[in-house]
């Protein structure tokens, strides 16, 4: 017995140290996830039996299909807009313009704010009595009624962008800063105008960085919960739909909710895998770009 201890004491101590973490992980994450998987195959309200009915109902139902489509569209829209915002912003911020530290801090603000608070503020700002509509009504000639942004899908996309664009911006900025400035100078000396330098040299080299950040933005937008919950109105992406299944019907539709959660998880993993492959294919050429 003592020889076993002596031979494996280090390993056992390490295991002991990891025990609380492993227990927490299993009890609060792994087992719940397992339960969700099991529940998704269980007939609604039952404790035994297996069925694919939960998946079938959701996937065949046009409402269910719309939920999936909506989630994708919102996330893709938000990601695209985030990229369109982040690239010019990063190009401006990399020159140390006056107050650039302040603007960089501004980029990080949405990350630190709970989604709930951000969504609330955005609802107020873009609402019918908010500053956005006040500006339109008072300064833009042909606007006579408030423009609806709250509770609309395009409004939700704006909200997502506000909250999640920093992921894209941060990686884009660091990719820009990792570029060897000599390369741009070489381009200029060779006769390329600043725009040509941007198009042929800078953009191709920072594309992997942009994509890496946009993955995070997409994932966050895809899995968004608190934001669409209070600002989505009748538009319910997957996460909200899951919650609706257990909060509205009585008794709660645990199985249905679990099935939707599984579908959401699978879609997310699938998309992530595709994205990663895309990034890897584009990342090869820029291997030597870093200083």
């Amino acid at each position: 017995m003592t020889s076993f201890w002596r031979a494996h004491s280090t390993g056992l101590v390490t295991l002991l140290l990891l025990l609380p973490a492993l227990a927490g992980f299993f009890g609060l994450f792994f087992y719940p996830m397992l339960l969700t998987v099991i529940l998704s195959f269980r007939p609604e309200g039952e404790t035994v039996g297996w069925t694919l009915q939960n998946y079938a109902t959701f996937l065949r139902d046009p409402d269910g299909q719309w939920v999936i489509t909506l989630t994708f569209l919102l996330a893709l829209g938000a990601t695209a807009l985030s990229v369109l915002l982040s690239v010019p912003l990063s190009l401006i911020l990399r020159r140390k313009v006056r107050g650039h530290l302040f603007y960089r801090l501004m980029v990080l603000v949405p990350l630190v704010i709970p989604g709930l608070i951000g969504a609330l503020g955005l609802l107020l700002f873009w609402g019918p009595r908010g500053w956005f509509n006040l500006f339109l009504l008072q300064f833009v000639p042909f606007v006579t009624r408030p423009v609806a942004v709250d509770y609309t899908p395009h409004g939700l996309v704006f909200f997502y962008v506000w909250l999640y664009f920093p992921y894209t911006c941060v990686t884009t900025l660091s990719a820009l800063e990792a570029l060897d400035p000599g390369i741009e100078e070489a381009g200029a000396v060779a006769g390329a105008t600043p725009w040509q330098v941007l198009r042929h040299i800078v953009l191709p080299l920072i594309t992997p960085g942009i994509l890496a950040g946009s993955v995070l933005t997409f994932m966050a937008a895809f899995g968004a919960f608190s934001v669409p919950l209070i600002a989505g109105g009748n538009y319910r992406p997957l996460a909200v739909e899951i919650y609706k299944q257990i909060s509205v019907p009585i008794p709660a539709h645990w199985s249905a909710a679990s099935a939707i959660a599984m579908i959401m998880g699978v879609l997310q993993v699938a998309f992530l895998a595709l994205y990663m492959r895309l990034i890897r294919r584009m990342g090869g050429a820029a291997a030597g770009a870093a200083r």
């Binding site: 060897d180 000599g182 390369i183 100078e185 070489a186 381009g187 200029a188 000396v189 060779a190 006769g191 390329a192 105008t193 600043p194 040509q196 042929h200 040299i201 191709p204 080299l205 050429a285 820029a286 291997a287 030597g288 770009a289």
Partner: protein
């Protein structure tokens, strides 16, 4: 003012309190390879970047082939440039890198192919057209850079310490290649380096810079044999300095008293008796003799303090008196041991008026 291919006219650039280029005026002739040589911070890189347009000078004009380009943006100056860290586009193949200046100018495809092929032939890299920069060695990358700089036959080629990132042996090989290519194409070139051996080996003329100013401009021989100031003498080659004052002036010669030594040297314009001067002699010009010989000028007694064997040369430190030290380099055939008493002959001594 002579009209060269490249003209700097009173170019001045300041960074806060630091003057990087101080009313720099330099003319580089057509087809010549001029090197800007100097220690770090002397302003040579600033001058180069004023020429490329990446930096705008605070004052002065810059002309290329008679045209004032001071206000012209970089991409319109029709230059070719080779960079210290190669600056190749990592996401483009060798072919695309070299073709880039042509692609930017929308040159027709057939012409492009011909010129790129020629440029690659020039640097002997035709077989590498499909490679990417990360697959190439340092020397190969620099050759690609050279090809890219020359592909559209610019009038002026700029080289910014192009060999600093290569190892010593490669540096020597590349030196010849660069010189060869530049001469063959008849291009005017401005070369920037801090390596004096490189400057002396490559250049038609050398411009030595110090603290934003030109110290001396001349051929490598002129710079080495007739340094115009103490700085140049110290910067190029090895040097010995002795401080003394003029005793007598006799026509083309004068005698300078440096402690107990009476040194005969060429007369210095403006130096009369009593004038403090600095004497300069190169370690490899001093002869060590075992015995004194009558009738030999500038022969002084000395003792060997230190003798270092360097393979093909011997490096000696000798004292001629308190505080009077000279360094001598001779071939290793005649050895003198530490402590030996010898005689030094200083055949050629130059002098300048001492500062202060």
């Amino acid at each position: 003012m002579a009209d060269g291919m490249i003209e700097f006219r009173e170019v001045t650039k300041r960074y806060g309190g630091l003057v990087a280029n101080d009313r720099l005026s330099l003319s580089i002739r057509r087809g010549e390879l001029m090197t800007l040589l100097g220690p770090s911070g002397c302003g040579k890189t600033t001058a180069l970047r004023c020429l490329t347009g990446y930096i705008r000078p605070d004052a002065g004009r810059i002309l290329i082939d008679g045209k004032d380009v001071t206000d012209l943006p970089t991409h319109q100056r029709e230059l070719g440039m080779v960079f210290q860290n190669f600056a190749l586009f990592p996401h483009m193949s060798v072919w695309d890198n070299v073709a880039f200046p042509l692609m930017i100018r929308s040159a027709p495809k057939a012409e492009r192919a011909e010129q790129v092929g020629e440029a690659l032939r020039l640097v002997r890299l035709e077989g590498y057209r499909g490679h990417y920069p990360r697959q190439l060695s340092g020397g190969q990358q620099q050759r690609v850079g050279l090809a890219r700089a020359l592909v559209y036959r610019p009038k002026v080629l700029l080289l910014d310490e192009p060999l600093s990132n290569l190892d010593a042996k490669l540096r020597e090989e590349m030196r010849f290649e660069i010189k060869e290519v530049v001469t063959r194409l008849g291009i005017t070139a401005m070369y920037v380096t801090h390596d004096q051996a490189e400057a002396l080996a490559l250049s038609d003329r050398v411009a030595i810079m110090n603290r934003g100013r030109l110290e001396q401009v001349g051929t490598p021989e002129e710079i080495y044999e007739k340094p115009g100031s103490r700085f140049v003498a110290e910067f190029i080659g090895l040097s010995n300095f002795l401080e003394g004052s003029v005793q007598t002036v006799d026509g083309a010669e004068m005698v300078v008293q440096a402690q107990h030594l009476r040194v005969l040297t060429a007369a210095l314009p403006g130096a009369g008796p009593g004038q403090k001067v600095v004497l300069f002699v190169r370690p490899n010009e001093i002869e060590i003799r075992p015995r004194p010989e009558p009738g030999v000028v500038n022969l002084f007694e000395a003792r060997v303090e230190k003798a270092t064997y360097l393979g093909d040369t011997m490096d000696y430190r000798l004292t001629l008196g308190p505080g009077l030290e000279l360094r001598v380099q001779t071939d290793a055939r005649n050895r003198h041991d530490q402590g030996a008493a010898v005689w030094l002959q200083l055949p050629r001594v130059r002098s300048w008026i001492a500062e202060g």
